[in-house]
């Protein structure tokens, strides 16, 4: 049959093959010249691509404490009255150029910066500069239940309500166009720090009025107008967010020509994109990947001590964990160092107290509990805990910086407890159920932790261990000690840091004595970036910042160009 075929066709086999080969080679040459000739056609547009992990819920951090929302909006689109200095954690001027605290600590007067321009976009053109009305509008939105924007987008303002700020502030008054006065009901030394967090952003009052007039107020949280370094341009769900530089930004800093959030939910794909150069930086690099990234010459891994703590909390509302001796006995039975090695892989420092050593309230003289199983058994015997006592260890199901693998940690603790004849069971649920059940106090002990929103040490003590924090669901130890409460409440009424530090030292010692929870580690924060990215550093206080971040582009063209737009407006005090 095939001989027949061969005879049929006049051109022979080799000639046919040659024709075909020529045909395909031609196609491939055409294709490959089409796609690899990058040298002839100039350069790619400049810009920075950040691979984020998820879609933001809003473009307004007032409405949401999730870091995804804050990463996009808090430091890119908006500014605050006050800022944290990233290196010292002290408060420095933002939109407020200066401020004054009255002697009784109840009245704060802010002098506002002049000539601050709001974003001009294709959906809104501001006709006036930033002034006191904008501050009052932004604060009243979450403060005042009757404010026209209070219920827009079913907002709940979780950060402000968790701190009960609406009941701390007595009034906000406009003194003149560039001066406002805030009165408090009682002294609160963490008040200024709260105004510098990601969530206390300043919106445009004029934009709010405009949206009310056009009857589309819900757009305020999705088509944002702020005074930050970048303005909103485009958002495609599950795909990307594009921000463009605000050319009249009030600070004189270099801004990249466009800032793009490439929404990439999978951690391994973010890592792959970082390696191929499709992302300049990625959100939440995993611990295992960091070691590989450190070996890659094109990737820079930045590391800084984090403002967080991972701990093992005992449910002090449940016998026998209401006895300090039992808690001490359990704490003595475990070896923190080996847990640090096995769970954190050298990415954390051993925790001696609730607050990390970088905080000014940290004291060195805390008596730390050291691994001693013999002494542990003695204490447990004394407290009447029989051999074979059964208890539960709840391990949180999600990865957090302060505890990258709670399940593994729980298994280690279980084996340590077995050595002192205690039979521990590990319990875990999905994250929302887990937190619900914790709030109901169903646990014996739990492995969880805390990340601070601002540099003030109060951010650790009151939310984690005060009596008020039991109903609001952050006091996992269910520990209510009036003496401790008095201590931390008096500490926030003092503004002198040295005097506050003495009170916090007392509080630390009280925790070390009573052990409602055993601090395990302060995890480091990591940020990874392409080596070409300049001016990008870890923001220890809150979410990511792209102000001043630029990218040098190594190109086939001989000169190394820096792709930046320098903002021409000068800073005016």
């Amino acid at each position: 049959m095939s001989e027949l075929a061969n005879r049929l066709i006049s051109f022979n086999y080799t000639a046919r093959l040659r024709l075909l080969v020529i045909f395909f080679v031609a196609i491939f040459v055409a294709l490959s010249t089409g796609c690899t000739d990058s040298s002839i056609s100039g350069t790619a547009p400049a810009g920075v691509i950040y691979c984020s992990e998820s879609n933001p819920s809003y473009f307004n951090p007032q409405l949401d404490t999730s870091s995804t929302t804050a990463d996009v909006s808090a430091h890119q689109i908006y500014s605050r009255l006050l800022e944290f200095d990233p290196s010292t954690g002290r408060i420095k001027p933002g939109l407020a150029s200066s401020w004054l605290v009255s002697d009784d600590g109840l009245t704060y007067t802010f002098q506002l910066r002049r000539n601050v321009k709001f974003h001009q976009t294709d959906y809104f053109t501001p006709s006036r500069n930033f002034n006191a009305d904008d501050v009052i509008f932004s604060f009243q939105r979450w403060l005042n239940d009757d404010h026209p924007y209070h219920d827009v987008n079913d907002a709940t303002y979780p950060y402000f309500s968790s701190l009960n700020l609406a009941h701390t502030i007595a009034s906000i008054d406009r003194i003149n166009g560039y001066r406002i006065e805030i009165k408090l009901f009682q002294r609160d030394s963490s008040f200024l720090a709260n105004l510098a967090t990601d969530f206390a952003v300043i919106l445009s009052q004029q934009y709010g009025e405009y949206l009310m007039l056009t009857k589309q107020p819900e757009r305020i949280d999705f088509y944002p107008i702020g005074t930050g370094p970048f303005r909103f341009d485009e958002y495609q769900k599950n795909q990307f967010i594009r921000l463009l530089p605000h050319l009249q930004y009030w600070k004189s800093v270099p801004l990249t020509e466009q800032l793009i959030y490439d929404i990439t939910p999978s951690s391994s794909i973010r890592f792959a994109k970082l390696r191929t150069g499709e992302c300049d930086s990625i959100a939440y690099p995993s611990q295992a990947e960091i070691t590989i990234m450190q070996a890659d010459p094109n990737i820079v891994v930045q590391e800084a001590p984090g403002l967080n703590v991972g701990f093992w909390a005992f449910n002090t509302a449940k016998p026998p964990f209401d006895q300090a001796d039992v808690r001490r006995g359990l704490a003595l039975a475990i070896d923190k160092n080996s847990i640090l090695d096995a769970v954190y892989f050298n990415s954390a420092s051993r925790a001696r107290s609730l607050i990390p050593p970088s905080s000014w309230a940290y004291n060195n003289d805390i008596k730390e509990i050291n691994y001693n199983p013999m002494r542990a058994r003695e204490l447990l015997d004394k407290a009447g805990i029989a051999k074979g006592f059964r208890m539960t260890i709840w391990a949180m199901p999600v990865v957090r910086a302060y505890n990258p693998d709670a399940l593994r940690m729980a298994q280690l603790i279980k084996s340590y407890l077995a050595a002192v004849d205690i039979d521990a069971t590990i319990v875990t649920y999905d994250w929302n159920t887990f937190r619900d059940k914790l709030n109901q106090g169903e646990h014996d002990s739990v492995l969880i932790g805390w990340s601070a929103d601002n540099g003030d040490p109060d951010n650790f003590y009151r939310p984690l261990l005060s009596c008020d924090a039991i109903p609001s669901g952050t006091n996992r130890a269910m520990w209510c000690n009036p003496e401790f409460d008095a201590l931390v409440n008096s500490a926030i009424k003092i503004s002198n840091e040295d005097k506050r530090a003495i009170l916090y030292a007392k509080a630390n010692n009280m925790i070390a004595k009573e052990i409602p929870l055993l601090p395990i580690a302060h995890a480091n924060r990591y940020q990874v970036k392409n080596a070409a990215l300049q001016g990008f550093s870890i923001n220890p206080y809150g979410s990511i910042r792209f102000e001043g971040v630029t990218k040098t582009v190594p190109l086939p063209t001989p000169s190394m160009t820096s792709s930046t737009v320098v903002v021409n407006d000068e800073v005016r005090p």
Partner: protein, 340 residues
């Protein structure tokens, strides 16, 4: 010929009607209020929608207004974004079509000539090589191939990008939705560079999709060429002393290509499935990636509309290919014999 056209038109119409009925019925099977499941909201103010949601209309009238709303482009809004689905789909569908068209074109351009080569050398070395390699290609799971390409070409060699349609740094205005066309008609700087970048993004997804289709076309063409060469009319043409070139172009080529067209029609649904998988792996912003996201988020209006649209596209393309193949090859019409 007219009868064939009418028959296919009726068949397509009925199939589409059943699909629309199914999509309408789905809204009643999903938990929740059927009208909200159908349109994603109860706040639309178009004429058909108001009639649809009115309390007085019975289920048959509802269906009628639903069809009207579909035809008017009033496809409801997504649960997840609250945006009209029509806009979302019109933005995403061209991306999917673009990928599918390029993949089919490559599979045809490569598959058919190589199939001829194999068929002409039936049971010879070159045929055996083609057969065994196409068997391997045919049995490659598409998701694995896509991942393998990413691993080798994007991550190891770093030749080509691994996700998206175009570097996000390019801001190409939306015109037709076909990225290459959009770049060519746009007036952005570095147009040539953007075009190259888009082609680079296209290569891996297109290869992954066309891989299996290529193997199918190669095998089908080879089979039909071998069959044609066996027939009496080729033998008689040869005995009459016609030149080989004439026999090949006049008799072999045309007759061997006839059975390939219906195979293309059958391949369309497989192709669409593969495109969806590939879209998810390469984060290609098309309808497949979007639909899978909608399934995750229980976005019923989006699932309904996406499903309806994809099946409508598949039905229309399949039916028209079948119709065309029957028009050019009337022997395939089994009723024609019966009438004779």
């Amino acid at each position: 010929m007219i009868t064939t056209l009418i028959r296919y038109f009726n068949l397509t119409f009925l199939t589409l009607l059943i699909l629309v009925m199914l999509s309408f019925g789905l809204a009643y099977f999903f938990p929740g209020d059927p009208i909200i499941n159908l349109m994603g909201t109860n706040k639309l103010d178009s004429q058909p929608f108001l009639m649809l949601s009115s309390q007085q209309t019975n289920i048959f009238m509802q269906f009628w207004y639903y069809v009207q709303a579909l035809l008017a482009g009033e496809w409801g809004v997504s649960f997840a974004t609250g945006k009209p689905l029509y806009q979302d789909i019109m933005r995403l569908l061209p991306a999917t079509l673009e990928l599918s068209i390029y993949a089919v074109t490559i599979a045809l351009i490569l598959g058919i000539p190589l199939g001829f080569l194999a068929g002409m050398n039936y049971h010879k070395k070159i045929d055996n090589i083609f057969m065994s390699s196409s068997m391997i290609m045919y049995s490659f799971p598409v998701f694995w191939l896509a991942l393998l390409l990413i691993l080798l070409i994007s991550l190891q060699a770093q030749w080509l990008p691994m996700s998206g349609r175009l570097s996000l740094l390019f801001n190409v205005p939306h015109y037709s939705g076909f990225i290459l066309v959009d770049i060519l008609v746009s007036d952005i700087e570095n147009k040539r560079f953007a075009f190259n970048n888009a082609v680079q993004h296209l290569i891996l997804p297109t290869l992954s999709v066309s891989f299996i289709a290529f193997a199918v076309f190669l095998r089908a063409t080879r089979r039909s060429v071998a069959d044609v060469l066996e027939t009496q009319y080729i033998k008689s043409a040869q005995t009459r002393g016609l030149p080989g070139k004439t026999i090949f172009f006049r008799h072999v080529l045309r007759n061997a290509l006839l059975p390939v067209l219906p195979i293309l029609a059958v391949q369309i649904s497989t192709l669409v499935t593969n495109v969806m998988i590939v879209e998810t792996i390469f984060s290609w912003p098309g309808i497949g990636d979007w639909l899978i996201q909608a399934i995750y988020e229980r976005d019923y209006p989006a699932i309904r509309t996406g499903m309806l649209l994809v099946s409508v596209v598949v039905v229309i393309i399949t039916m028209s290919l079948e119709c065309i193949s029957q028009l050019i090859d009337p022997t395939r019409d089994r009723f024609a014999y019966a009438r004779r």
